[in-house]
Symmetry: none
Subunit: 410 residues, 2 copies
C-alpha cells in the first residue's frame, strides 16, 4: 500500500518550524510496516492545497494530512478537502456538542470561530480527538483515502496511534511485522563499509533485506530493514544476516540499535565496579561531557581535567602514558584516559589537522595510541574525542587499541 | 518565481532523520526573498525520484534537490537526473581530478566507488563543493532548472549560500541586495521578544523590514530581513531599526550576526589580558568545551575541572562562591567560573529540574547567582551551561548577573 504524508502550514513550508510532525508520523508508520512513499509540504494556500490533494489522490492509496484544522482563517484543510471531493461543508452536530460541552466543563463559553472546526465535508468520517477541539476526519479523493489530523503534536500523536494507524493497517490488509537492525561503527567510511558488506542482501532467506548506510561523522550507521510474518519469522530471517554483518564489521562496531558508545562504556565500567577520570586538551571537555552527563554516571565518573597547554614533553605517546598514570594515581579512579593533542599552526582550513596521543592507565598497566586526523578544527576535535572513547572501549573489551581507522592520516 | 525543495533519502522519508536540511534551505531562500512553494520528500528509489523530478519539472521554475550524491549504490540523484533529461552520464574529468588530488593531498588513494561522484548528466553545469567529494550540478528538466546539492549539512549549507542562491536570484531576475541582521539573546522566549519589539516593522524607512524569530533553545534568534538597491541603501534602511532593536532587547543580547556567546567571552577576556578557569558538575565539561575549543583559547583558558559529586555544602550560593574563589587561587587564573547543580531525584521526565548555583571570582571580588531550571535532563544541562556563560558575560561587561530569565522556575 502506498502511503503519503502531506504537511500543511506556512511555518513548516518556510522552514521556520522544523517538521518534527512529519518525522514522527513517518517513523510510526514505518515501524508498523506501512510504506511511506512520499512526503509533501505546502503552505496555507488554497490553490497549493487543492493541487497537492489532487496529485496525491492520483498516486497514493492513503494520505495522512497534518495541520490546517484550527479555528482561524488560515486553516483551510476542511474547506479544500470539500472542494476536492466536490461536496459542501456540513456542520457536524456531534462534534459541535462535544466542543461546547468541553468548554462548558471548564466554565467557559466556546468562541464563535471554533464552530468552524465542526464543519466537515459532507459524508466525511469523523476521527475523534480526545484531547483537543480539532477533530480529524477521513474522505476519499480520487481513489485515495485521506485522513486529516491536527498540527498540535500531542493531539496528532495520540490520534495517529489510536485512530489513524489502525484504519491504515485495515485498509492495507497488513498483518506482518518489520524490524530495523542498526550497527554503529567508528573508524570506517561509507565506501569501505559498502565493500566490507558486499553481497549481504544476497544472504537473505526468501525475503528481501534492505541494506543501508548513514554517516553521522565520526560514526557510520549500517542498517538492515527486514519484513516478516511475525516475530519468529523476522528472527529467522534476520539472525543469520545480522550475525554475518556483525562479524564483518568486527571491532569497528561500537554499539547497536539504541545503544551509544558512551553508554556502552559507562555500563561496562559500572558492571566491573570501575571508575574513570579523564584528562583532555583541545577536546576541551567534550570527552568528559559524553560520559559525565549520563544517568548513573555519578558512581563511575570521578573527575575530568582540561588544560589547553600540553604537559612537559608535548604530545607524545610517552607523555600521554605518563599523564594517564599520574591522573589515575591522583584521582583514585581505576581507569584514566588522557587525550593530548598537538594542533597544526595557523588558521582553520580544510586540511587543518592535529597529532593525537592517547594514554589509558588501568589496573593492568598502560596502553597508548597515536594518530593524525585532519579536516578542520571541528572535524579533528570531534574525531579525537571519538578516538579516545573508542580506545577506552577497545581496552575494556580486550580488543587492539591501535587498529588503523579510515580517518587517520600518515 | 516558484521554487521547490526536493529532499531525497530513505532516512528522511521514513522519519529516522529529522529533515533539518529542508528547514535550513527553506529559511535561507525565504530570507533572501525567494518564494518556496512546496517541499517534497522521496526515498532512494528510482521510480519515486523520476516521478518527483518530472512532476516538479511541470510545476516549478527552479528546484533545489538535496541528497543522493554519495558514492554508494543507494545514491541515485545523478542517474535519475540523466534519465529525466534523456541524456547519458558522462565522466566529469575536472571533478575526478579534484577528488583524486584531494585524496592524494591527504596521502590516500581514492576508493574506486568514489568515481561515481564525478559522473554527471551530459551538459550539466558543475556546482563546486569546496569541502567534500560530492559535487553539485544543475540541469534543466521540462521548463525547470534543477540544482543538486549534497546531503551532508555543512557542505550543503556552504554551497547553498555561495553557489545556489546567487544562481536562483539571477534566474528570478531578482536584483538589489538583501541583508539579514541577527540578534542572539538568552533568557527571553519568543512571545516576550515579540512583545518587546511591538511596532518594529513600522519603523522601516520606505521599505518593508521583515521581523522574524527562531528559537534554538537556550538562545532565541531575532532576525531583520531587509532589501535594498545597494549597500548604502541597505545601511540607510537598516541602521535606525537595528539600533532600536538592540536597545529594546537590551542586556539579553549575547551576540550578533556570526558572533557567539563563547566567542564574545573569549575576545573580552583576551582583550583585557585575563585568563579563565572553570569548575563544573552535571554540565560535565560542556561549559569548558564551549570556550577551550576556540582558536586562541590557549592563552586565555587555564583549566577546567569536572566532578559529579558536589563539594561539601552542596549546591548553594555560598559553596559556589567558595568553589570559584578556591579555583581562582589554585589555578592562578584571573577569572574563575563555578557552576554547581543539584539535580532532582528520580528518572528523566518532562518536569525534571535542578537547582543551579553559579559563582564567579575575579580581581574585583565574587558574585553569585541561583536559579531553578526544569524540562528534562538535557534541557536543564543545556540551560545551566548557557546561564553560567551568560553570568560571566554580564560580569565582564558590568551588567547585572541576576536579571530574571524566562526559563527560570520559582
Amino acid at each position: 500500500m502506498r502511503v503519503e504524508i502531506l504537511c500543511t502550514g506556512d511555518e513548516i513550508l518556510t522552514g521556520k518550524t522544523i517538521n518534527t510532525n512529519y518525522s514522527h508520523i513517518a517513523r510510526r508508520l514505518t515501524e508498523v510496516g506501512l510504506d511511506v512513499q512520499r512526503g509533501t509540504t505546502v503552505g496555507d494556500d488554497r490553490a497549493s492545497l487543492l493541487a497537492a490533494f489532487r496529485e496525491a489522490g492520483a498516486r497514493a492509496d492513503a494520505v495522512i494530512v497534518n495541520g490546517g484544522l484550527g479555528p482561524t482563517v488560515d486553516d483551510l484543510s476542511q474547506e479544500v478537502a470539500a472542494e476536492a471531493c466536490g461536496v459542501p461543508l456540513i456542520l457536524n452536530e456531534h462534534w459541535l456538542t462535544r466542543m461546547t460541552e468541553s468548554y462548558a466543563r471548564r466554565g467557559r463559553v466556546m468562541p464563535t470561530n471554533n464552530k468552524k472546526q465542526a464543519m466537515l465535508p459532507e459524508g466525511a468520517e469523523l476521527i475523534d480527538n480526545p484531547i483537543g477541539t480539532a477533530c480529524g476526519f477521513a474522505v476519499t479523493i480520487g481513489k485515495t483515502r485521506f485522513l486529516f489530523t491536527p498540527g498540535v503534536p500531542r493531539e496528532m500523536r495520540r490520534m495517529l496511534d489510536e485512530q489513524v494507524i489502525p484504519r491504515l493497517l485495515k485498509l492495507g490488509g497488513i498483518t506482518g511485522v518489520t524490524r530495523l537492525k542498526r550497527f554503529h561503527t567508528f573508524g570506517i567510511g561509507e565506501s569501505r563499509a559498502d565493500e566490507m558488506l558486499a553481497g549481504i542482501p544476497g544472504l537473505a532467506i526468501d525475503s528481501e533485506i534492505k541494506l543501508g548506510f548513514q554517516a553521522h561523522y565520526p560514526q557510520l550507521e549500517t542498517k538492515l530493514a527486514v519484513r516478516g510474518d511475525d516475530a519468529d519469522d523476522l528472527a529467522r530471517k534476520l539472525t543469520p544476516v545480522e550475525t554475518e554483518v556483525r562479524r564483518r564489521l568486527g571491532n569497528f562496531v561500537v554499539a547497536e540499535d539504541e545503544q551509544t558508545l558512551e553508554g556502552i562504556l559507562l555500563a561496562k565500567l559500572d558492571a566491573d565496579g570501575h571508575t574513570l577520570s579523564v584528562a583532555e586538551t583541545f577536546t576541551g571537555g567534550t570527552i568528559a561531557a559524553r560520559i559525565a552527563s549520563l544517568p548513573g554516571a555519578e558512581t563511575v565518573f570521578k573527575s575530568g581535567t582540561i588544560t589547553r597547554t600540553l604537559p612537559a614533553g608535548g604530545a607524545s605517546e610517552e607523555t600521554a602514558a605518563r599523564t594517564a598514570g599520574d591522573l589515575r594515581r591522583e584521582s583514585g579512579a581505576s581507569h584514566a584516559l588522557a587525550v593530548l593533542m598537538h594542533l597544526d599552526d595557523g588558521a582553520d582550513r580544510p586540511d587543518f589537522g592535529a597529532a593525537i596521543c592517547i594514554g589509558i592507565a588501568d589496573p593492568h598497566g598502560t596502553v597508548t595510541r597515536q594518530a593524525r586526523l585532519a579536516g578542520g578544527r571541528d572535524w579533528v576535535r570531534i574525531g579525537a574525542a571519538e578516538l579516545g572513547l573508542d580506545c577506552l572501549r577497545r581496552r575494556l573489551l580486550g580488543l587492539p587499541v591501535d587498529e588503523r581507522i579510515d580517518f587517520e592520516r600518515r
